[in-house]
Structure formats: C-alpha cells, structure tokens
C-alpha cells in the first residue's frame, strides 16, 4: 500500500473539551430558516423518480441463448428458480428454462452473475402490485421474457412496471401471459426439474455438465417431477 512512515499517531483520542456541547435555548429556533427552502418531497403521482441505471429489478431471459444449465438454480439463495420444460407452438424447447418466483426472489441477481451465456439478465423494472387473492398472486411466478420486449414496453409506457398484467392458467398446462401492450405469449409447461419430462420425444437434452450434477450423490437431489396439482382449497374472495 501507500506511505509507510507514520510519525504522528493517526488515531487520536479526544475528550470532553471537544466533544461536549453547550445547551442552548436560542439555537433550535434557527430551524425556522428551513421554512423558506425548497421542499425535498417527491410528489409521487405527479412527479417521477427513476431508479438508478442497473438497479436490480425483474429478470429477463433470452430463451434462444438459455442452455438450461441450472447454474442459476444452484446459486439462488432463496430457491426461487426452478427449471421448466416448455412447449412453444407445439414444439418442445430443447433445454429447460428458469422459472423465477418473486414470492421468494431476493433480487440479489447472483443468478445473472453466474449465467454462462448471458441469457439471464435484469432490468430496472420494480413495480409489481397485485391483489391479495390466490389467483392474483400467480403473477409472481413467471418464466422471464426477452429483454427487448421489456425495454420496448418501458419506453412505450414510460414507467418500470412488471411487463405482464395477467397470467392465465388453463387446465391442460397452457399458460398465457397477457403483456401490458396487449400482446400475448402462449406456451405449455410440460414439467419441472432438470431431466426432461416423461415425453419420449426429443432424445436427451441433458448436457454433460448436468449429467455430472445429477449423478453426484449430493444431499437431497433434485427430483424430476411432473406438475403435481395442488388442491385448491383456498377461499376465493366472494
């Protein structure tokens, strides 16, 4: 490091002569001058405040680049990422894609840091406000969409809202993402886990890396499973 020769002690101990203050009846009135200053308030519905560039907001995913290596799932401290096998337009995606659960995500973006291909990214979007019913909260769990699409919508609407307004879930496992600008993204979720769902088609997409992971007798390994249907026993409002 820098300078080695230290003559005078750098840390000085000071006593009451410097630390102590005198109590005053007059000085508090000086605060009145703040009456004539410009307020710091951001008048929110009328004024806007931008998040900093590279603020850690919602994820984006380039489905073409994603190789389904599950690095993101491994590093995630909140276990928010689950690999998902998708079927788009009747064709199964070769690799699983991460599905991010904002009921768990801590927005640390370690998953983005470890992504080997740069498929997973993040935007500054941070608004996601829903109702409290079970079906509203479905919105918190999504397969991120392409960054360009998110940016396009940010520019169009001029704010940083979640790009999806509604996730429609159909009985056969089809999900329809209703985007803010009226577009729809439709795909079918075939299953979760690292290994492809039982469908015999499309050979074996697991890479060598994944195979190693799977064969490793680590504690509690990922179990591939087809979606178990949760008993919807919750009350829906009125």
């Amino acid at each position: 490091m820098k300078m080695e020769s230290v003559e005078k002690p750098k840390v000085r101990i000071v006593g009451e002569e410097k630390v102590k203050l005198k109590k005053s009846f007059v000085k508090p009135w000086m605060g009145i001058k703040y009456l004539f200053k410009k307020p710091v308030t951001i008048k929110i519905p009328f004024e806007k405040i931008e998040p900093a560039p590279k603020y850690r907001g919602f994820h984006t995913l380039d489905w073409k680049k994603c190789i389904g290596c599950n690095f993101c799932g491994q590093i995630c401290p909140a276990r928010a990422i689950e690999m998902t096998w998708l079927e788009v337009d009747g064709k199964m995606e070769k690799r699983p894609h991460p599905k991010v659960d904002y009921g768990r995500c801590t927005f640390c973006q370690f998953c983005v840091d470890v992504c080997p291909t740069g498929a997973l990214g993040f935007t500054e979007n941070f608004y996601l406000t829903t109702g409290g019913l079970e079906e509203d909260l479905e919105l918190f769990n999504w397969v991120p969409i392409h960054p360009d699409k998110v940016r396009e919508m940010n520019e169009k609407f001029g704010d940083y809202r979640f790009p999806v307004v509604k996730i429609e879930k159909k009985a056969d496992g089809t999900y329809v993402y209703h985007l803010r600008d009226g577009d729809k993204i439709e795909f079918k979720i075939l299953g979760y886990g690292l290994r492809p769902p039982k469908k015999p088609a499309s050979a074996k997409p697991a890479t060598a890396q994944e195979k190693k992971e799977v064969s490793k007798p680590a504690e509690k390994k990922e179990e591939p499973r087809a979606e178990p249907e949760k008993a919807a026993e919750k009350p829906s409002g009125e």
Binding site: C76, R79, E82, Y192, K220, R225
Partner: protein
C-alpha cells in the same frame, strides 16, 4: 488457518502506532500467551496471527481458566458453539477481547454432545447470561448456575428441538409444520438444489 500466508488485509494492520514493529518471538501476543500459560499449565496456547491468540482448555477447568484470563481479557465478546456431529462433541469457543492489549482470544473447549453441561461464567462476566441462554436454546447445553435458561428467542415448540444442532432436519421440520408442499406454486420447490 495458515499462518504463513497472511492476506493483505491483516498485513496493513502492522502500521498501527501502538505496536512498534512486532517481531514474532517477542510480540505482545506471545508474551500474553506465555504469561497466561505459566499460570495455567493445563491449557494449550498459540498465536494465530497478529491480535489473535488461541487457547485450548479441558472442559473441567474452563471456569478456572476463564477467571484467570479475565484479568487480561476484560470483555467476553461471544460464546460460539460448534456442533461437531461426527466427533459427537460440542466445541465451545469463548471469544474474549482484551481492551488494554487489543488482542482477541479464542478459548476453545470440547464437551460431549450427550447431556452437555458446562459451569456458567455469569459471575465473571454478567453478559454471559445472554450468551448462555442462547447457546442453551439453540444447542441444548445446560449451563449450571444460570437461572434464566429456557425459551428466550424461540417459542417453546422450537425450543425443544434445539434447531442449530446439526441433526435437526430443518426441511423435515418445516414440512411437518407448514405442510408437505409448502410452496405456493406448481413447481413444489421444497428441496435443496445443492
């Protein structure tokens, strides 16, 4: 811990004015350890690095040793418990800090896991009461002489389980309380990935 390869962070530390050019054989740490070991021959002591010394003391003489050490080390910073499940032992690390000498000491002792008992050090450092309550709560070590052992941070149900023990299966416990499938969504993320 390797003493030879010191990270940069600690190396800079030598520039502190109070310590004038410490050489290992007669640093203040070495002197301190020698002084304490002279009075307590049953303990093992070593200097780990600058301002960090380590003592290993048999469990039955820990109180005696800590009483001795409290002359030099004024503060009990923490009592850390490490559960070595394979060895079947709890390691208690009394972290002491000497305000006058600026030295941190680890006083390590090991006791068996079953019916773990220790004498309290509340009479030396009253603050030990809190640390012991915590260690009792999370590991089930009984500190004889501490009147306030019992549920402190945890509620009685978790208190009985001593959750920081290595054989406490957290996921299993969560499943018994919040249901087998405590994930809200379809993926049922109820296991660890690695």
């Amino acid at each position: 811990m390797d003493m030879n390869e010191k990270p940069k962070v600690e190396e800079k530390v030598q520039e502190v004015p109070e310590v004038e050019a410490p050489k290992l054989p007669d640093t203040k740490e070495e002197k301190l350890v020698a002084e304490i070991l002279k009075k307590a021959p049953y303990a093992e002591g070593s200097v780990r690095r600058e301002r960090r010394v380590e003592f290993k003391v048999p469990a039955d003489r820990i109180k005696e040793f800590l009483e001795l050490a409290s002359e030099k080390f004024e503060m009990l910073i923490q009592i850390s418990v490490v559960d070595w499940l394979k060895e079947g032992e709890f390691e208690l690390v009394y972290q002491l800090w000497s305000v006058s000498e600026s030295v941190h000491a680890f006083v390590k002792t090991r006791i068996p896991r079953e019916n773990a008992k220790m004498p309290t050090v509340m009479d030396i450092w009253p603050v030990a009461e809190t640390y012991e309550r915590e260690a009792h709560e999370f590991f089930g070590i009984v500190f004889e002489g501490n009147p306030r052992l019992g549920p402190f941070i945890l509620e009685p149900r978790e208190y009985e389980k001593h959750p920081l023990r290595k054989d406490f299966n957290m996921i299993g416990y969560v499943k018994t309380i919040y249901g087998e499938d405590f994930d809200r969504y379809d993926e049922s993320k109820t296991n660890y990935v690695i």
